[in-house]
């Protein structure tokens, strides 16, 4: 297995997407998406259902269904990712680009131990013995703060809580030390207290590895906490793009403003009808 491609310059983007267009027989799902992500930076991709945000990530991973056709380009360290053969894409997937999914329980195979499933990702790219890969798995689990990692590699997914399972998924993504992490709604299925922990963990992991991150979510509040840059998508089109500060403090487009207004806030005081607490009283 070759080392990561040489990085031309430190400020060159890790991922550079240009005019990405994804079409299914039933219609266009992404129409002209363009963005860059630099090392150690996070791009937040926000949108409601049907905005094409998840399709964008699958296109980058080369995991779109066969019937989808893509045009445009997605360059990773300058190398085109689109239209590559599955075999060549496979060497990049899981090694230099890793993905974390929404529902950790269904994203892990119930028939294999978590250690096996993490080690499998390691061996697919780095080779080595099963025992060595298992040690790597335990290390990765330790890095994402799973208590007693060495003891828990032999446990099955159903033996973990929801938050711990997502840590397993993150450990699996980290095990080959990727340059790009794609997180597709990684906290949506989790309870709020767990969500906060996982967001902290992701930020910490990124700080440590300086990986670029594409963070996909429908939740503007989550995106505001983790992103350096934000792309707002709707019906497959990019509505607005900018730094997190610009998007949240001075949104230019009506749709962005509407989304922000619709996002429920803890400190919002809404006018409610008065309850009827006294007899016959109004």
């Amino acid at each position: 297995m070759s080392a990561h491609p040489s990085r031309a310059a430190s400020d060159a983007p890790v991922l550079s997407v240009r005019d990405l267009r994804i079409e299914f027989p039933l219609g266009v799902v992404v129409d002209g998406s363009s963005f860059d992500i630099a090392r150690g930076q996070t791009m937040g991709l926000v949108g409601e259902s049907g905005s094409g945000k998840s399709m964008t990530s699958l296109a980058i991973m080369g995991l779109l269904p066969k019937e989808a056709t893509t045009t445009g380009s997605a360059r990773f360290h300058g190398n085109e990712l689109l239209h590559r053969s599955d075999a060549s894409m496979r060497r990049t997937r899981g090694d230099q680009i890793a993905m974390i999914f929404q529902d950790p329980l269904s994203s892990l195979n119930p028939y294999y131990t978590v250690g096996f499933q993490i080690a499998e990702a390691y061996r697919a790219h780095k080779g080595g013995t099963k025992a060595a890969a298992m040690r790597k798995a335990a290390e990765a689990m330790d890095r994402v703060r799973i208590p007693d990692a060495a003891g828990r590699v032999g446990h099955y997914p159903h033996q973990f809580s929801g938050g711990m399972r997502q840590r397993v998924m993150i450990a699996m993504a980290l095990v080959c030390e990727p340059d790009l992490i794609i997180a597709d709604e990684p906290t949506t299925a989790l309870d709020v207290t767990v969500q906060a922990q996982i967001l902290d963990l992701l930020a910490e992991v990124q700080e440590m590895t300086q990986a670029a991150m594409l963070f996909i979510t429908h939740d503007l509040a989550v995106v505001s906490q983790i992103s350096d840059h934000v792309t707002v998508m709707r019906f497959g089109r990019t509505v607005e793009q900018g730094t997190a500060e610009q998007i949240f403090s001075s949104p230019r487009k009506d749709y962005t403003r509407a989304l922000l207004a619709a996002t429920p806030r803890l400190d919002d005081v809404v006018d409610l009808p008065e309850p009827i607490l006294t007899k016959g009283g109004e």
């Binding site: 995991l63 899981g94 890793a98 994203s107 195979n109 119930p110 499998e120 990702a121 790219h125 099955y156």
Partner: protein, 331 residues
Amino acid sequence: MAIYLVKRLFAALIIMLLVVFFTFVIFFQLSPDPAASICGQTCTPERIEAIRDQLGLNEPFFTQFFTFLAAIFVGRDYGSGASVVHCNAPCIGYSFQTNQDVLQGIVDRLPVSVTIAVGAAVLWLLSGVAAGVISAVKEGTWWDKGAMMFALAGISLPNYFVALVLQYLLVVQLQWLPFPTVVPFTDSPVQWFQAYLMPWMVLALMYASMYARLTRTNVIDTMGENFMRTARAKGLGRSAVLIRHGLRPSLTPIVTLLGVDFATLLGGALITETVFGLNGVGRYAYDAIAVNDQPVIMGVTLVAAFAVIIANIVVDLLYRVLDPRVRVSTS
């Protein structure tokens, strides 16, 4: 685990008892007088009465039922004095038409039925699962459509029809096989194999068709699972994704099915054995039905039910081993 096993065995015992009871009721209530069948056509009323007496058929229903039950554990004597016939425990009946202990009759014929069942099971498992997996992977292609059409035919066509067509083709027309004659394996392995080949194929066709369809559905369902996408996202090769992550969840339910189908065949493949002249448990029952030899029909029914009940327990235990979600409880 031990508690679970005890519970299951206890439940099995209850079910077995119910099976015995209902089988007994059916034969007691619905069938023609067994004494008359034993006696034959030239028979006097006195002789019938004597036979009824010897078989205990004049006793009340529950007396007969408990005599039958007790015989399973302690054996039983039919009649008394010089004409006494003893049936050793476990006794599930005595055939006065063949003058044989029914259980012995079944045990004698079991090797043939086991041979048929094992050979057919190997054949249908390999071909059915392979066809199902290929169909699933090539979903919607001509291979898939063709295989599923063939499977539908395999399920729909009656056994005896397939048997006759196969015999006509392979023996009469193409002459690839001699007319099957059963010989012991040790005498001539080739001839032994030739005798069993067609029964295996006939039974396997039906089961393979069912297994192919089920495997196909399971594999297609599994391919849609999120963990398959994870496996691909890790950068695993196509075959590793399919074989390691796809087949294990798809085939575990097949194991369950296999156990029960196999056990069902131990109770005899009535039609196949008869068509091919194999003297297995199914043929034993077939012959008994022809002459209304009730103890044999009942005995085979009970043994067949017993095999299925035991197989169910074995399969459930196996499932607990194969599926970690059942094996390892949440900690």
